[in-house]
Symmetry: C2
Subunit: 216 residues, 2 copies
């Protein structure tokens, strides 16, 4: 199974690629293919030093869609619409959104678009056959990158296509100690997307770093 | 310190009273004082059988405000405005809101009022000197009532009055194994109030019961 990461040279995407590439074939997309290649070379090097083999290739964002079975949109919310308008080929693909529409004012807060959530906006922008799920919304970039640390977190997953959701939950459960939970249909994704500003506030007001979440 | 529970004969209030009354002086309010007295007699009996002494008295909702230092509004969101309009005497009191504005449609979802959150609506309805904090939003009624079980959960607390927030966090931290986290000012309470519909969805779609949350 090939996983494509659109925006894979960003903060979140880079750590994701390192965690996923020992488990799956990963293609990292960027607006500039060369940048993706540099990121991947550095990632391969890091994993090699740790004695881990991996499958990690730098490509353009468009190729990260075309050649993948599952596409992760590792894009900040503010660039979501602009980026998706330049890309195509999402028909029938499983598309994972870890995107959180939020802003830092005096504190972090959720600012969902008129559609209700980033996931529902993505649904509007992509062809109807794209099978969209939310996942990985609450895993901080630094945690993805800290390869020596287990990721002992819960990951709520929303989606309307049950088979796609099961596949996404299966991927989540293979990564470190992540534990996937079905959080309902895509319409419920606004509840998942408002977790990250809450966790950022908790980090800030309790002098903590990279706070995560567990359901129990 | 005396803690008054308005709506203390409801599902959440009853369990709260049982957990709090061995630690604090608790007065349980109800629209009908007699109902509160029956609830308290039953609670005292239960705690006595467990060898726990307690301070637990049934009163009217108005007395639960007048005679308390700290007031917990254990009221469902749909009755919040109606109930608060019949009550007075909140001046200078610490008022805790565990209220979550939510609805069950096909799934559970958050339906914040125009003010942005139940806590901000309460702020609008009460006198300016009331010191409002959110707390206990995510602890399920059944967990409160299961006195044999430790409550190993995180409790996010929002509020604009730092001294009140510290007092509320201190109360949280004395109950079982609850762990209070400062979740920022009252303006950030919408993020806390949307946790419960998420947890209810997770319980439903993963066949779990009374799901709680931990930050880590």
């Amino acid at each position: 199974m090939t996983i494509g990461i659109v925006g894979g040279t960003g903060d979140i995407g880079e750590g994701m690629a390192m965690r996923l590439s020992p488990l799956f074939d990963v293609i990292v997309g960027s607006r500039e293919k060369e940048k993706a290649q540099v990121t991947c070379e550095s990632g391969i090097e890091t994993l090699k030093k740790r004695g881990q083999s991996c499958s990690l290739t730098g490509v353009s964002n468009q190729t990260a869609i075309d050649d993948a079975d599952i596409v992760i949109l590792a894009i900040p919310f503010r660039h979501l619409t602009g980026t998706l308008e330049t890309l195509e080929g999402f028909e029938g693909k499983i598309v994972i959104s870890p995107v959180n529409p939020m802003e830092k004012r005096d504190f972090f807060t959720s600012i969902p678009p008129p559609e209700g959530s980033a996931a529902l906006l993505i649904k509007k922008l992509l062809p109807p056959s794209a099978r969209i799920c939310t996942a990985f919304n609450t895993i901080a970039a630094n945690r993805w990158k800290s390869l020596d640390e287990e990721l002992s977190y819960s990951v709520p997953v929303c989606g309307d296509d049950d088979e796609a959701k099961q596949q996404v939950m299966g991927i989540v459960n293979r990564i470190s100690k992540l534990h996937a939970f079905d959080a309902g249909p895509l319409g419920a994704s606004c509840l998942v997307e408002s977790l990250t500003p809450l966790l950022l506030n908790i980090a800030r007001y309790n002098k903590m770093k990279d706070v995560g979440i567990q359901f129990k």
